[in-house]
Amino acid sequence: MLKVLRDLFRHNREFAVGSILVLIVLGIVAASFFSPYPPLDSYVVPPDIPPSWDHLLGTNSRGQDVFWQVAVAMRNSLLFGISVALISRVISLVVGLVSGYVGGMVDRILMSINDTFVVIPLFPILTLFYFMMHDHMSWAVLALAMASLGWPYDARLIRSVALSLRNREFTTQSIFSGMSTRQILLEEHLPYVLPIVFSTTLNNINWSIGLEVTLSVIGLTNIETPTIGTMIYWANQHTAMVAGIWWWVLAPVAIVIMTFIGLFLLSVSMNEFIDPRTRLARMGV
């Protein structure tokens, strides 16, 4: 396993770049635990100082150090994204595997529902949801809402893997040896499906952080919690761009772009590696 990772790193540029980016981001997130300033407090340092040796990324108009703020913000956004991705993984795994394996009418019904969810535009619905929830909206509730809307795309991918697995010989063998459907799904198919799931998880994290940022920036989430989105929200509230305090906006945007591209490159390179056709395509051409 380690050897595979090392080979990937050495020969696959996307994987290398992706892992470096992600490691940088994770490093900053880890640093957030050592922040000298309590993240929720404001006016702990002089406001509006440009980047300097004392404050690597400057300070914002609320009197917070931008570097430490962004570290905590990234941590929260990342945690949020991972939670949404994990919860929706469960749903997409169940739907995808059942649909692909059982097939027939069940498959058709599930996929119709799936496609329905794919088409429905999420943003207006989430906005409506926020509107109805108002102050009762917490991060956990938002995570649940997003997870229950974000599974269909990946469910379809998992289903196609399950479909191809269903017709392979070792499946028939398992059936003949008397394994139950549940056993087959868990013990035989899961190891094939997991790599795809892993790469879709990375994409899903991207998607959820992106959505969180969007909702926060408009002020539809709990803006007291420091996340990437709320940071930009506050920057907008204090008209940071116009006031020339560009570092307040640049820091969260830069780090989140690093995260997105990093996770994306990782997922793409892992996907390419797993799929033998693309792996072979790299060989001779």
Partner: protein
């Protein structure tokens, strides 16, 4: 021809299903949460001082009827659907007494225009360049384009719009960054008006196109590089068929069909991106309207926009689905 009729009916069925499920979700969201929009409206109306309880009671009753929230749950459900069918969402609270449908009607063309223009540009340009990149694998220029596309692809809509805004609004302010048209120009078919619409739409269209173009490029490139090793392409090359003909009729044509399906599937996401872009650029479409509705506690407006969004996207997907057999003749047989 008859098989196309079946196809049409199947797609129509899917359209109806989407609308049905979507609107049900909307209904569910509005009725399954602890907040009661009527109480909320009342509390914000009465927070400044004493109000006569009878007046409050009258207000409550009026609001209930307005919002379609009187009667049992089942009655509310029926009222909801009835109103949707007639396009009556009631008056907007924030812009009383303008009907919500009028406000949506005014905003919708802007959103549709933005969405169609940028999607068309992004899909066509992205697919074309991606197709070339998949076919001419050695070209350095196309490889560089591929790196750019891969970098653009994961960036979510808000960040992209923000970056475009910063680049062209602050660093290099050559284009207008807000509004649909100049404030002081008279609406009408004059050159000044039309040109101001165009200049104001440039940044939002650019921003929205950039969000999706990366995805089309990368997707098409990988499709094409798979198709290039398909039997019929290899055979055609073997036979010395004109290279240009192979690229267009053999490779690209076959890759476009799945890309069209992809377009239909991502339309929901593109719509999201469109309304977010509108908010960033203050473009007078559904996005800005939605945010306004949320900030002013305008229940009918938000509800109306959510419902119309679902119907609009479902309709667009339906239209794309109908186009699909043109690209892939095999679909009729299924």
């Amino acid at each position: 021809m008859r098989s196309y009729l079946w196809y049409f009916l199947r797609r129509l069925g899917q359209f109806v299903l989407v609308v049905f499920v979507g609107i049900n979700i909307v209904f569910f969201v509005t009725h399954a949460t602890p907040i009661d929009p009527v109480e909320q409206a009342i509390s914000s109306a009465t927070q400044f001082g004493q109000s006569d309880p009878r007046a409050v009671e009258i207000m409550r009753k009026a609001l209930r009827e307005l919002y379609g929230l009187d009667g049992t749950l089942w009655q509310q459900y029926l009222t909801f659907w009835k109103r949707l069918a007639t396009g009556d969402f009631g008056p907007s609270i924030s812009a009383f007494p303008t009907p919500v449908s009028t406000m949506i009607g005014r905003a919708l063309p802007w959103t549709v225009g933005l969405l169609s223009t940028s999607t068309l540009i992004a899909w066509c340009v992205g697919n074309f360049m991606g197709g070339l990149a998949g076919y001419y694998r050695k070209s350095r220029l196309l490889k560089a384009a591929g790196i750019v596309a891969t970098g653009l692809q994961p960036i979510p809509s808000y960040i992209m719009s923000l970056v475009v805004l910063i680049l062209f609004g602050y660093l290099w302010p050559i284009l207008p960054i807000s509004g649909g048209f100049e404030m002081n120009v008279q609406p009408g078919f004059t050159f000044a008006f039309v040109s101001s619409i165009v200049t104001h739409s440039l940044l939002p269209v650019l921003s929205l196109a950039l969000i999706t173009i990366g995805g089309w490029f990368v997707g098409m490139r990988s499709l094409v590089s798979n198709i290039v090793s398909e039997d019929y392409v290899v055979y055609a090359e073997l036979a010395g068929v004109d290279r240009h003909r192979i690229l267009t009729s053999y490779v690209m044509r076959n890759a476009l069909a799945p890309q069209l399906t992809g377009l239909a599937l991502s339309l929901g996401g593109i719509f999201n991106g469109a309304i977010i872009t509108e908010v960033v650029f203050g473009y007078p479409g559904l996005g800005t309207l939605l945010v306004r509705g949320v900030n002013s506690g305008d229940y009918s407006l938000v509800l109306g926009i959510a419902s119309i969004s679902i119907i609009a996207v479902a309709a667009a997907v339906f239209a794309i689905d109908l186009l699909y057999p043109l690209l892939d003749p095999r679909v009729k047989v299924r």
